[in-house]
Amino acid sequence: MLLTVNDLRVTYRVPGHKPVEAVKGVSFQLDAGQALGIVGESGCGKSSLAKAIIGLLAPASGEVLLDGHPQTGRHPRDIQMVFQDAAGSLNPRMTVRQTLEEVLRVHRMTSPGETEARIGELLDLVGLPGKVLGAYPREISGGQCQRVSFARCLALKPRILLADEPVSALDVSVQARILNLMRTLQRELNLGVLLISHDLAVVRTICDRVCVMHGGEFVETGKTDNVLETPEHPYTRTLLAAVPDVGRAFSGIRV
C-alpha cells in the first residue's frame, strides 16, 4: 500500500485553554493511481489532517506509513501538496522559471545542464506555454498560478499529490481545466491523489473513493458513486443537498 494512515490524531494546545482535538483518530489507505476525496465544511479538520500527513504538523498520535514505513516527523518528498491560494503560495518576487529552478536545485533533482529541459517537460505536463517562464505570479492568471504550483510539486517526482481545495478560488471554466489536469496527471504518472474539498460535485469528478469528514472524524467512507447515491450519514445528505447543481434544480421540470 502506497500510503497508510492509522488512527491519526491532531490536537491543538493553547496555554490556559482546553486542548482542541481537530482530528480524532482517522485511518485510511491510498494506492498508486487512485484518487481519494476528503469532503467536509470549514473547521471539520480536513486541512489539519493534510498538514499532519505531509509533516507540517506533528500528530498527537497515530502514524503515517509510506510503503509501510513510518513518516512521522519527516517531510517526505514522495508526498507533495498544492494549496488553495495559488498566487499566495508562490513567491511574488520570483519568476516562474526561478520558482521551478529553485526546487530542482535545492533538492538536487537535476544537474545544471538538464535543468532547462526538465523545466520544459514540467510546463508540458501541466499545459503551460513557455512564455510564462519569465512572468511573475501577479502577471499570470489564477488558473496559471495553480498550474505552476502543480509543476513545482511534480518537479520532485512525487508519488502522492495532496491538493487542499485546489479549485475553490477559481472560476468555473478554469476549475474544470484544473480538475481535468489532475485527472490526467493521476493517470499518466500513476499518482495517488488526495483531494480535499468542501464540494461533493468537485470531488465526484475525479475521486474513486470519498471520505466524509465531520467534527474531526470520518463519518462515512466508500466508493464515490455509492456514497452519493445512497448516503447513510445525515451529514453526507446535508452536504449533498448544499451542492449547487444545475441538473437537480431542473430535474423535476424536464421529466
Binding site: V172, V202, P244, F250
Partner: protein, 328 residues
C-alpha cells in the same frame, strides 16, 4: 407590468491610462423589476463587477468615464449630483461584496457598523436595532454578536453581518457581488437562502453576481450572461439554462461539475481565456474561443436578437431554440 427598479441602458465604462483608452464595459443593458431576483453570470474579467459598481458610480470617476444611462426608479444616477448619490447608496441600493473581511471595519464593533447609515441614535438604540437585524439574518446569539468585532466571527457570520448592514435602510435593491465565493457549500446555501427569504419578505430586488451557474439554477428568476463587457444572453433562468442560445452560456454550463454527469467524462472547458479589455478582438469578443465562429463573427459585432419572446442573445449563430428567431 411590474415597476422597473433599475434599468441600465447601454452602459459603457472606459478608462484612460497613459494615453490609451480601454473599454471594459461596452453597451451593457440590464433591467431589474421591483422585487425581482436577477443574476449576472460570467468569468472573471467580463465586466460584471464593474457594471455592478457603476450603478452607484463607485468606480473612480477621475479615471473612469461612464456613458449611457442608469435609471434607478426613473432617476438617472449618471447625471445625479454627488449628494443625491450619497442618499441612494446604502439607502436605495445596498451592496454585499465578496470579501466580507475587507468590507467590515476591523476596529469597529459590529453594531456601530450596522447602524452607521442610520443618523443620530443613542448607543442603546443602535444596539437594539442591530440585535433585531442580526436576528433576522439568523445569527446565533445576536446580543453578543452585536457587540463583537468582525475578527471574532467566521466568514459566513461576517457575510450575515454585511447583510444586516445592507438591510438597515430597507433598500429597494440589493447588489450582491459574489457574496458566497469565499464560503463553503453548506454556508453558501444558508446565506443564499437568507437573501431569498429577505427578498421575499421585504419585496427587495436582488442583483446577484456570480461565476457559478449552479447557484443561479432554481434560485433566481432571470439571468444575464456577460462576456467581454457586454450581455451575451439574457432571459428567464429556466429557459437559458435548459436550452442555452449563446455558445458561451453553453460552455459555462458544461464546465460546472454536476452530480448527474457521467463520471468518466472529462469536464468541458472553454478553450483560451478571457482577453484583457485592451486586447479585445474585432467582431464578436467571444469568437476566438468559439467553436461556431466563422468570418462573419470575426468581423462584425453581433447585436441582440430575440430568442422567443423573453430572451435576447447576441450571437450570429445561436443554438436553435423552439419558438425563437430562425437560425441563420
Amino acid at each position: 407590468m411590474r415597476e422597473k427598479v433599475l434599468e441600465i441602458r447601454r452602459l459603457s465604462v472606459s478608462f484612460q491610462r497613459d494615453g490609451k483608452i480601454t473599454v471594459p464595459v461596452r453597451d451593457a443593458s440590464l433591467t431589474v423589476y421591483a422585487g425581482e431576483r436577477v443574476a449576472v453570470v460570467g468569468e472573471s474579467g467580463c465586466g460584471k463587477s464593474l457594471t455592478a459598481m457603476s450603478v452607484t458610480r463607485l468606480p473612480p470617476t477621475d479615471r473612469a468615464e461612464l456613458k449611457g444611462e442608469i435609471l434607478f426608479c426613473g432617476e438617472n444616477l449618471l447625471t445625479a449630483s454627488e449628494s443625491r448619490l450619497l442618499a441612494v447608496r446604502g439607502h436605495g441600493i445596498a451592496y454585499v461584496f465578496q470579501d466580507s473581511t475587507a468590507s467590515l471595519n476591523p476596529v469597529m464593533r459590529v453594531y456601530r457598523q450596522i447602524t452607521e447609515t442610520c443618523g443620530r441614535m443613542s448607543k442603546a438604540e443602535r444596539i437594539a436595532l442591530s440585535e433585531k437585524l442580526l436576528e433576522e439574518t439568523g445569527l446565533p446569539d445576536p446580543p453578543r454578536m452585536a457587540r463583537a468585532y468582525p475578527c471574532e466571527m467566521s466568514g459566513g457570520q461576517q457575510q450575515r453581518v454585511m447583510l444586516a448592514v445592507a438591510l438597515a435602510q430597507r433598500p429597494k435593491l440589493l447588489i450582491a457581488d459574489e457574496p458566497t465565493t469565499a464560503l463553503d457549500v453548506t454556508t453558501q446555501q444558508r446565506v443564499l437562502d437568507l437573501i431569498d427569504r429577505l427578498s421575499a419578505k421585504y419585496g427587495m430586488a436582488v442583483l446577484l453576481i456570480t461565476h457559478n451557474l449552479g447557484l443561479v439554477a432554481g434560485r433566481m428568476e432571470r439571468v444575464y450572461v456577460m462576456y467581454g463587457g457586454g450581455m451575451a444572453e439574457s432571459g428567464p433562468v429556466r429557459d437559458v439554462l435548459t436550452a442555452p442560445g449563446h455558445p458561451y452560456t453553453e460552455g459555462l454550463l458544461a464546465a460546472v461539475p454536476r452530480l448527474d454527469a457521467p463520471r468518466e467524462q472529462a469536464l468541458h472547458d472553454i478553450p483560451g481565456t478571457v482577453p484583457s479589455p485592451d486586447a479585445w478582438p474585432q467582431g464578436c469578443v467571444f469568437s476566438p474561443r468559439c467553436e461556431r465562429a466563422d468570418d462573419l463573427c470575426r468581423t462584425e459585432v453581433p447585436c441582440d436578437k430575440p430568442l422567443g419572446d423573453k430572451r435576447l442573445c447576441a450571437c450570429h449563430h445561436p443554438c436553435p431554440v423552439e419558438g425563437g428567431a430562425p437560425c441563420c
